[in-house]
């Protein structure tokens, strides 16, 4: 299990809400250590794809493999074992509003580690420091800003040292500076923890700043148009749509 090996493989995935097909025949591989971007216009099913990857929704066809193990074919125990290796941050933080930040981050630790209360408090302090929230242990989510809530959500996601970090629109609702800081934090995490990162976003600045692999979902044809490094795709994707989508940033970038 080294960097560059296939980590997540999506095979022939078709997603449906009732009779409505969202996306069909998705086929791509996320390698270990990648920062993988799921991109596409609004309403193309980016978040839906993420929800399929983390098993919140069942695919109409196809499967998602983690290190060669199919999540869909794994039993309840197998799914739990896979889930424990993931950290997920939700679009609006997903923090439990009735708990302080410390309690939020401590929850998975209490659930899955044999550590005592003092040791858990230490780990929580470290995790909050890692996302730049040292000293915010006793705040409630409603008492901190949106950007801080996202970082606190990240602290909870990395509580158990996951192998894969999923982000649903990490920079939605953040100012450009906060969103850049969050991007840098994600890269630092990737480098220091050696995790694989999967991100749903349509922020072009983020896509080029951190992504080294990606898939483009098209709302029109209801399938993926292209996949690969976003910087390469911008120059020489086979599809006009993908190039146009990515080139919009070119004017700002150059």
């Amino acid at each position: 299990m080294r960097a560059g090996d296939p980590h997540i493989e999506v095979r022939g995935l078709t997603m449906r809400y009732g009779a409505r097909v969202i996306q069909r025949d998705l086929d791509f591989t996320v390698n270990r250590g990648d920062v993988f971007v799921i991109m596409g216009g609004s309403g193309c099913g980016k978040s839906t794809l993420l929800k399929h990857m983390i098993g919140l929704l069942e695919p109409a066809a196809g499967e998602v493999l983690y290190d060669g193990v199919s999540f869909q074919r794994a039993g309840a125990a197998g799914r739990d074992a896979l889930r424990r290796r993931w950290g997920i941050t939700y679009q609006s933080g997903g923090l439990f509003s009735a708990m302080t930040l410390a309690e939020n981050v401590a929850l998975p630790l209490q659930q899955y580690t044999p550590l005592d209360a003092a040791a858990i408090a230490d780990v929580v302090a470290y995790k909050l420091a890692l996302v730049g929230l040292a000293g915010f242990e006793d705040y409630y989510p409603s008492e901190i800003s949106g950007g801080m809530q996202k970082r606190a959500g990240l602290a909870r996601a990395i509580a158990l040292d996951p192998e894969i970090l999923f982000f649903d629109e990490p920079s939605a609702g953040l100012d450009p500076l906060s969103s850049r800081l969050l991007d840098e934090l994600i890269l630092h995490m990737r480098d220091a923890l050696g995790v694989t990162v999967v991100i749903v976003t349509h922020e072009l600045a983020s896509i080029f700043a951190i992504g080294n692999n990606s898939v483009y979902l098209d709302a029109e044809s209801r399938t993926m148009l292209d996949h690969g490094d976003p910087k390469t795709l911008r120059e020489r994707s086979r599809h006009e749509t993908v190039r146009r989508f990515l080139a919009r940033a070119g004017t700002e970038d150059a």
């Binding site: 509003s97 550590l115 005592d116 040791a119 302090a125 890692l130």
Partner: protein, 379 residues
Amino acid sequence: MSVAAAPRAASCTLERRGERVVLVLAGDWLLAQGGPSAAGVLHRVTASGARELGFDCAALGDWDSLLVTLLHRLDAACEQAGVTLLGDGLPEGAQRLLALAGAVPRRGEAPPAHPPWWRRLLDGQILAGAWRELLDALGFIGEIVLACGHLLRGRANTRAVDFFWFLQQTGPAAIGIVTLISVLVGMILAYLGSVQLRQFGAQIYVADLVGIGMVREMGALMTGVIMAGRTGAAFAAQLGTMQTREEIDAVRTLGIDPTEFLVLPRLLALVLVMPLLTLYSGVLGMCGGALVALGMDVSWTQYLNETRNAVTLTHIMTGEAKAVAFGVVIAVAGCHAGMRCGRSSEAVGKATTRAVVSAIVWLIVADAAFNILYQRLGI
């Protein structure tokens, strides 16, 4: 990070090498198995009187956040005690994480206070809060009265579509549960009365008891309790969720009065529906009573005649007056809780609870007041 077959226990020992003290780390430092207590290690380091602290990780196996957590605490403690921490002996990844954790300085400001309930009681905060809430409720009722004034002058932002929607939600959709409860309450009243009346051979008066009891009292009260739990709670949850999603802010900034737009249709629908449901409940209750009476040698016709003699229009009107008042109480309690809801998911739960509890309390209070009034007026 290497992959070890079986994890070995984490351990650390302190060694003096020249002028520096070295912490020798060994074994697997994993969250999943735990390790030596950080406080103990910290104590040993400070007790050693070291000026410089180094690390020896030759025997270190697998590690994760457990190790970096210890380092993070050591780092902070060393800085405070003026000890230099030399991280060069550590694995590269751990050094990087340590640097990242120390990148943003700790916030000095104290977090907002969250005192326990007894503290707030002693400080008088709870009493003051209750007083504020009472004033706020009066203000809310005032807003509703003003909105009603606007409505009467035809200048309110109340949409008929909303009104009919809530009419459907509070009325026809509640028929099932009202039917069930009313029939059962009618039967309960009949059983209760028949035990006593049978001793005088006066079973026929079960019809009077059930008829008057349902129409004057139980019909309105039971419908009120059902609607408080069903509709009052729904109002609070709807408006509370709108509050958390900033929908009410949007209504306000569009220049629309939220009381006219959101509260009035709910209030009017419930006030219109409550008397109808109460009437229905009374009829169903009498049917329930009749079922019981049939089992006690009272025929359908006897029961029907007796009920017709007993239940007068005055009885019906007293019940209807209550129903209107109860409708107002439930809608105001539900909407007030929802409109004043906080911004978190927890707050929506609290608002719903408060809506139901205050609706039921004020229902009973209002019912008692009505009964005293009727007693005085002799009706």
